[in-house]
């Protein structure tokens, strides 16, 4: 057996450190090819492109891509999924080539069914290797999954990534929280993978059981499904609770999986994995590309891991900042998204003229002593005005009988966001716990009351 080459600093320096000109040349070639593939094989894409009067041969330059090629969006796929016989939208390959199918969580409405070939699963798994390698993870290491392998695609792709990198996999499927704590202490994995909320929950269970999860010697916690791995206060809580050196940040889009991965320097965000996708941002109103580095826009992606069901110039509705020339010492030249997802174009709330990012609120909650990381944001529309109620649990052993903590949180939010939000501090344990993606945002506005698109960063 040829020994693994573990001495290289980067997983794939040829592309990971390539110049912007080199990367853009590869992107354009792949996008042109992909548009041709989709036009010839996906009835949905052909309809969309024909309606726009665009043929694949018309897409030759970045200007063509940005201004002539139409966007695609989840409703296009859902409508196609519901009108066709296959139950899948935007399909470009026959079912004889599929190897597995999944669905998204459906947190933004309907489930979107997704089909994968064998190659696509491995290609999607490859996106994890760049960041994990950068953090010093090597094939001799191991990963424990706090995950029942169901239809939700999220952590499945992490599993493919672990296989791709060559990690030893330990499945915690079908086990209770207490059983998982004991398995982790017994198996001593290098990485434990779950949602941030669930990982903190496991640490609480360990404490209740009289066990110290830090004795497992875990070096990294990782996973996804929520914003927690991007939030400094939650990252610090995870480090303290697990005694880990590394908290791995990754950004996923249900339709393209975890296309953003953090380097070891982190720098407050993730890099777009440009071997598996093209990433840029647009003004949600005009659709024009954001050209100023660091300005907020809606993230638009083209996936190079999906060919059975292509996603090309696909609107994610995530609001991001993109640094096109990151220079924080990691050596990667791939675009960097500081703050990862700043908000959702369709979850944007404007309160008394101030655009409020839910992610900003999440960050600020963690800065108030006495509060826990368990919270919910309730968005509503009352008499034509958006409102946000922040519900958060007090920390263990803390009682907020007189409302001092709630006032302190409201003051802190006002000082940093510029507007007073309603706050309610609850007793520890009052909010539900979730094993998978934690539901944090409850938007009771009707579809017509929600902004179709809002560019929040200019407020």
């Amino acid at each position: 057996m040829i020994p693994h080459r573990t001495d290289h600093h980067h997983w794939n320096a040829a592309t990971q450190t390539a110049s912007r000109e080199q990367l853009d040349a590869l992107h354009l070639e792949r996008i042109r090819h992909l548009v041709g593939w989709a036009y010839e094989n996906s009835p949905l894409h052909r309809r969309i492109y024909d309606a726009a009067g665009v043929k694949p041969a018309d897409i030759r330059t970045w200007d063509d891509y940005h201004h002539r090629l139409p966007f695609t969006d989840k409703p296009d796929y859902v409508a196609d999924q519901e009108s066709g016989d296959s139950g899948f939208g935007g399909v470009a390959l026959g079912t004889d080539r599929w190897q597995q199918y999944f669905h998204t969580t459906g947190t933004t409405g309907r489930f979107l069914n997704e089909a994968f070939t064998h190659y696509e699963m491995h290609k999607a798994g490859s996106q994890y290797c760049y960041g994990l390698w950068d953090h010093g993870i090597r094939p001799k290491d191991s990963i424990y999954f706090c995950f029942d392998f169901g239809m939700w695609i999220g952590l499945w792709s992490y599993y493919w990534g672990a296989r791709n990198l060559g990690l030893t996999i330990i499945s915690g499927g079908g086990a209770s929280g207490a059983q998982r704590v004991r398995q982790i202490l017994e198996r001593r994995p290098t990485i434990v993978c779950g949602t941030p909320t669930y990982l903190l929950h496991l640490a609480e269970i360990a404490q209740r059981e009289g066990l110290d999860i830090r004795e497992a010697g875990v070096k990294m916690v990782a996973g996804g499904g929520e914003a927690g791995f991007s939030i400094p206060a939650t990252r610090e809580q995870l480090k303290q609770a697990w005694g880990v050196e590394h908290v791995y940040d990754a950004y996923g889009v249900g339709e393209a999986l975890f296309i953003g991965q953090s380097c070891a320097e982190w720098a407050g965000g993730v890099h777009a994995v440009e071997d598996v996708c093209h990433s840029y941002s647009v003004d949600p109103d005009s659709g024009d590309p954001i050209t100023a580095s660091g300005e907020v826009g809606e993230h638009v992606i083209t996936s190079y891991t999906h060919f059975a069901q292509p996603f090309i110039k696909y609107r994610t509705h995530d609001l991001v900042r993109i640094d096109t020339a990151p220079d924080h010492g990691c050596g990667w030249t791939w675009k960097h998204l500081p703050g990862v997802v700043l908000g959702r174009a369709d979850f944007m709330v404007t309160i008394r003229g101030v655009n409020v990012y839910p992610t900003a609120v999440e960050n600020l909650i963690g800065e108030v002593p006495g509060l826990s990381n368990h919270y919910e944001l309730h968005i509503s529309r009352v008499e034509g005005m958006d409102r946000m109620l922040v519900k958060v649990e007090a920390g263990p052993g803390v009682v907020d009988g007189s409302g001092v903590l709630a006032d302190r949180l409201a003051d802190h939010l006002r000082a940093n966001i510029g507007v007073r939000l309603e706050t309610d501090v609850l007793a520890p344990g009052a909010l539900p716990r979730y094993e998978l993606k934690t539901k944090r945002i409850f938007d009771s506005r009707s579809a017509s009351e929600r902004p179709i698109a809002t560019l929040g960063g200019r407020a």
Binding site: T15, R20, E21, A25, W37, H118, Y119, K123, D275, F307
Partner: protein, 89 residues
């Protein structure tokens, strides 16, 4: 952002259009070797003695294709894309 009009050129002199050299000589050289290796693999797959051998080689092709992607291969999007090619796994 570049606005290059990307016209494919023939690097190999075999009449097969390929991506211009964008990642440097070392990556180009490895890509050319991998393309040649894949050609042999697909030929072997076409002449496989049994479904077992054919399927094993299909899976090998998927892994080989990952390597091609790492060094800037853009001629195909995925194994088995081309009509008439051996089906990708």
């Amino acid at each position: 952002m570049t606005t290059t009009d990307m016209t494919t050129t023939d690097l190999t002199g075999t009449g097969t259009p390929s991506v211009p050299s964008v990642l440097g000589a070392e990556a180009d050289a490895q890509r050319e070797r991998l393309v040649a290796l894949r050609r042999r693999l697909l030929a072997e797959q076409a002449g496989a003695l049994s479904p077992a051998v054919a399927r094993a080689l299909e899976m090998a092709d998927a892994y080989l294709f990952l390597a091609l992607g790492y060094v800037g291969h853009t001629e195909e999007l995925f194994p088995g894309e081309a009509p008439g090619a051996a089906p990708g796994p």
